[in-house]
């Protein structure tokens, strides 16, 4: 590998150097830069959500404490949930989609580079808008699921809920655009020979996730429109006094919400499906089965939403249906887990940090998955629903699954993005503090839940005798916070002066490792031809591919133009949505004008330089 890498130094390059100023980042349409922006932004939001969580943990450390007011606590957990899901876990996964997918399939960029930039800016502005509510001391306070009728203007008269529904609908646009973009990219832009069944698993899971995005988000978008109309224009969708049914909100929310949780986990599954084979020096065991299992999870995930609603009273027939559908998901998930273990079986396992996080995921995600199975049993759920047992479940699957998977991906692909390794010693510290802190935080919650502590309460009676579990959780959270600091420290240090990484630092099999680290802005000077699932692991094929991909382009490849319309359009969309808060129809109509203008200008601007 390195012999090829040296070639690049003296090749004459006909391609432009990439610009670096601030303006070039604002107008960039390069998927790699957008990915980095996504990652950095999501990490910052992770700290925001994390600090919110820490304040809650200190409030809950002892019974009958009141460090903060009930109202503030309600804002904190609502913002924590909303932030972590919509501004951390999802965009962080999207950061990886962006960076990795085009490289893995051998493309120069995503299908719609400007749309990609638009997604990012909308995400950023939507997130800022949501958090701007803190400035008005009016952060959303009706929980991340926003059940009607608590969100009605009668019971939530302030602007808190307005901030919530407006920013979520803004963020929805970014997600749908992202989903369309990645589906198109994956269907249409694969390098020669990259058949669907040769795609790396991460790309596959991106594909499935994108489907979930484009199908699930519209449902909540409509639900949010109903909510907005109820609040601002007096419609009666969720007004029981007028025959509206608050439970309908729950249906619509969870029809979105359950696919959403698979949106969170599937990217992580994708990451570890790439990481585990690399560090076991074995191809993924049962590749097609793992792919189909992922598709099946996504698909069945559409038919299980009411397992969040067993206490709502849907009747025994509906309950039974959703029990069965939910439990069936355990099977494909288990298949995946066993295939990963089988991949490691007989391998030669290197315990890099990326691999540690992947193994950690297997160990703790299973715990969360199994508590999910307990929830899925409707009668048992009647005891567990809305208690800390559920809080334990979903942090196990989200933090122990989704986040750990993404951190595995971080250590795995960081050398590609930066040309430098993340420090492995700090990495191991990061891993072990995460493991200890995480389990110490969330394992005791199983007990506090079972002993009767409901969730979303700002304090609890000393009579319940659950103080000890809460204290352990708080201590764990502090350790976990330290792990987060270690991670960021590692990122910052290694980005600047980490050990240099070659093109293929891990001896990994996929195309992204066939190009220099960091890649040229055009990724591939010429597109390689793929003949197998692990192109870089097959001797002849690897040499052929490296010969094509390691050089510099002799002529500037046809790359899209930078554009400032994405950021302007994103700003105008955010503005237009923000004006909805006024509830005055003509102000709202005025707000649409800049959106139209920007869309038009965008449409008229050439996406690519015209040089032919």
């Amino acid at each position: 590998m390195s012999s090829v890498a040296t070639q690049q130094a003296d090749t004459h390059s006909g391609a432009h150097e990439e610009e670096t100023g601030l303006w070039s980042w604002i107008t960039t349409v390069d998927h790699k830069r957008i990915a980095i922006m996504y990652f950095v932004t999501a990490t910052i939001f992770f700290f925001v959500g994390g600090v919110e969580a820490m304040i809650m943990r200190f409030q809950l450390m002892n019974p009958e404490q009141s460090l903060i007011s009930a109202e503030l606590y309600n804002q904190l957990f609502t913002m924590h949930g909303t932030t972590m899901i919509f501004l951390v876990a999802m965009p962080m996964a999207v950061a990886f989609f962006n960076y990795v997918v085009p490289l893995q399939i051998g493309a120069r960029d995503v299908a719609f580079p400007r749309l990609n930039a638009l997604s990012y800016w909308i995400f950023l502005f939507g997130g800022l808008y949501l958090n701007a509510s803190w400035l008005f001391a009016a952060a959303p306070n009706a929980s991340w699921v926003g059940y009607a009728t608590l969100t009605s203007s009668q019971f939530s008269p302030g602007v808190n809920v307005d901030f919530w529904f407006i920013s979520l609908s803004i963020l929805g646009i970014a997600s749908i655009a992202g989903g369309v973009n990645f589906i198109t990219t994956i269907v249409n832009m694969r390098a020669p020979g990259m058949k669907l069944m040769r795609m790396p698993l991460f790309t596959w899971m991106t594909f499935v996730t994108s489907f979930l995005l484009i199908t699930a988000i519209p449902v909540i978008a409509v639900a949010l429109i109903f909510l907005g109309f109820d609040r601002l224009f007096g419609t009666v969708f969720f007004d029981p006094g007028m025959g509206g049914d608050p439970v309908l909100w729950q249906h619509l929310f969870w029809i979105f919400g359950h696919p959403e949780v698979y949106i969170l986990i599937l990217p992580a599954f994708g990451v570890i499906s790439d990481v585990i084979p690399t560090f076991s020096k074995k191809p993924l065991f049962g590749y097609p089965i793992v792919v189909y299992a992922g598709i099946l999870i996504g698909f069945i995930g559409w038919g299980v939403w009411s397992h969040h609603m067993f206490t709502v009273g849907l009747g025994p027939i509906a309950d039974s249906f959703f029990v069965a559908a939910t439990m069936i998901i355990a099977i494909p998930t288990g298949v995946k887990i066993f295939n990963w273990i089988a991949t490691m079986w007989g391998g030669s396992i290197r315990f890099t940090t990326a691999m540690l996080f992947s193994i950690g995921l297997l160990a703790v995600f299973t715990v969360g998955g199994l508590s999910g199975i307990m929830h899925a049993s409707a009668p048992v759920n009647l005891q567990q629903h809305d208690t800390y047992f559920v809080v334990a479940h979903f942090h196990y699957v989200i933090v122990g699954g989704a986040m750990m998977g993404l951190w595995a991906g971080l250590y795995y692909w960081f050398p590609k993005a930066s040309g430098r390794f993340l420090n492995e010693t700090l990495g191991k510290w990061h891993f072990w503090t995460t493991m200890i802190g995480f389990n110490l935080t969330f394992f005791p919650m199983h007990f506090s839940g079972m002993f009767g502590m409901p969730r979303r309460i700002y304090t609890y009676s000393a009579d319940l005798n659950v103080a000890i579990y809460n204290q352990l959780a708080t201590i764990g959270a502090v350790i976990f916070a330290i792990s987060a600091v270690i991670m960021v420290w590692n990122l910052v240090q290694s980005w600047r002066k980490g050990e240099k990484a070659p093109a293929d630092p891990w001896g990994a099999p996929h195309l992204e490792w066939s190009i220099p680290s960091p890649p040229h802005h055009y990724n591939f000077p010429e597109l390689p031809t793929v003949r197998s699932r692990e192109p870089l692991w097959n001797d002849g094929e690897r040499e052929e591919i490296l010969a094509v991909t390691m050089g510099e382009a002799t002529e500037e490849p046809h790359m899209p133009n930078p554009s400032y319309w994405p950021i302007l359009l994103a700003a105008s969309i955010t503005l237009a949505w923000a004006l909805v808060m006024t509830g005055v129809w003509w102000v709202i109509a005025l707000g649409i004008i800049p959106v139209f203008f920007c869309t038009l200008m965008w449409g008229l601007e050439p996406a690519f330089p015209e040089d032919h």
Binding site: D245, F351, L382
Partner: protein, 388 residues
């Protein structure tokens, strides 16, 4: 992972140590048929999942230990899959899923079967942030402490006038939401949720609203008092007789229910407000006067047999018998009661009740401060506590 195992072991020890502790809201300690059904199901699922967890962890530990990369490792065999294994780990879990799903579905139907004929109905209404219990058969309304006879099936009809609440008394069974009652056309029956169980032991059971319902959701607790059939009937009689509205019959007022029953208290007179005060504690008399004639209390609260018939707040008949105050969050004693009447928001932000010196402006409308003096507050407390 090792840390995890170690952490798990420590926590298990903690759990064992904790077994002796009393958990009033323990969901693993069934005291009704309903809770028992759930518990058995839970235990069986628990062991299944522990078995699966053990399999996964053991395999994982084995792989991690056994297949570490070592100096001079050669390239491992490149195995791409194995059909038999795939079938095995699909069918195995599938069988387990079936083993879990079948009893689950049986329990689903068992816990939602039609109500038995002899069940006693109680209409439960979740308010922000307190519970109202109405017994249509007995014609009784009470709040925050549900009194039930032991061994008699009870059928709770759950509803709410505002937001979703969830009725949950873990030892007596699972929770079910009290959904806002959806208005229906004339002639149609509004739909309610129902919760059906038979308490099997007497005693106090703790419960709490389990659906986030706003600012004081954390303070929306409740108690269930399960009594013997006789005690329950006696309680119901006492409620209907409403001793609080009567001039007390002297210092030897019967304390215990059975005595009271034997005493055969006379039925409520018609004009309660004009009753003789007699040898009653003057503070109580003053309190009654304040409550019924001077303050706004009666606009929201009802006391059976008096002119207080408000229904915006808890029904306070027999309030003196309650062990808790303000939906289970405070012990019911004179100090707490006075403090509550003075300043409810100190205990329960956004409670729909005005304080002595602040107005209440909320979804229940506008209510001016009650402007009671300390003396009056003490009197009202004494009066309310005398209602037993």
């Amino acid at each position: 992972m090792f840390a995890l195992a170690r952490g798990g072991a420590v926590l298990l020890l903690l759990l064992l140590a904790a077994c002796g502790t009393e958990y009033p809201q323990n969901s693993l300690s069934p005291h009704s048929d309903f809770a028992e059904t759930i518990h058995q199901l839970y235990v069986s699922i628990f062991w299944w999942t522990m078995f699966i967890l053990a399999v996964v962890w053991v395999l994982l530990a084995w792989v991690v230990v056994k297949f570490r990369a070592r100096e001079g490792d050669e390239k491992p065999r490149q195995i791409r899959g194995h059909l038999g294994l795939e079938i095995g780990w699909t069918v195995g879990p599938a069988l387990i899923v079936i083993a879990i799903a079948i009893p689950t579905i049986q329990a689903v139907f068992a816990t939602q079967r039609p109500v038995s004929e002899d069940a006693m109905t109680v209409e439960v209404t979740g308010h922000r942030f307190w519970w109202e219990f109405h017994y249509p058969e007995q014609g009784i309304t009470t709040a925050n402490e549900l009194v039930l006879p032991v061994d008699r099936p009870v059928n709770l009809r759950l509803g709410s006038p505002d937001v979703i609440h969830s009725f949950w008394v873990p030892k007596l069974g699972g929770k079910r939401d009290a959904n806002p009652t959806v208005a229906v056309r004339d002639g149609e029956e509004p739909k309610y949720n129902w919760l059906f169980f038979t308490p099997q032991e007497t005693g106090y059971f703790y419960g709490q609203c389990a659906e986030f319902c706003g600012e004081s959701h954390a303070f929306m607790a409740m108690r269930v008092l399960v009594e013997t059939e006789e005690d329950f009937e006696a309680w119901a009689d006492r409620w209907r007789e409403s001793p609080g509205a009567l001039p007390p019959s002297g210092p030897e007022q019967p304390e215990d229910e059975t005595e009271l029953e034997m005493a055969g208290m006379p039925v409520q007179a018609d004009e309660p407000d004009e009753l003789e005060v007699g040898d009653e504690d003057p503070l109580v008399a003053m309190g009654r006067d304040v409550f019924l004639n001077q303050a706004t209390c009666l606009a929201c609260h009802a006391i059976e047999g008096t002119s207080a018939q408000g229904d915006r707040g808890p029904n306070l008949t027999l309030f003196g018998e309650r062990t808790t105050l303000a939906s289970g969050i405070l012990e019911n004693n004179p100090e707490n009661l006075a403090a509550w009447i003075k300043d409810p928001w100190a205990f329960k932000p956004a409670a729909a009740m005005p304080g002595v010196d602040y107005d209440m402006q909320g979804t229940a409308g506008f209510w001016p401060a009650t402007e009671l003096s300390d003396e009056q507050v003490r009197a009202v407390s004494a009066y309310l506590l005398s209602l037993k």
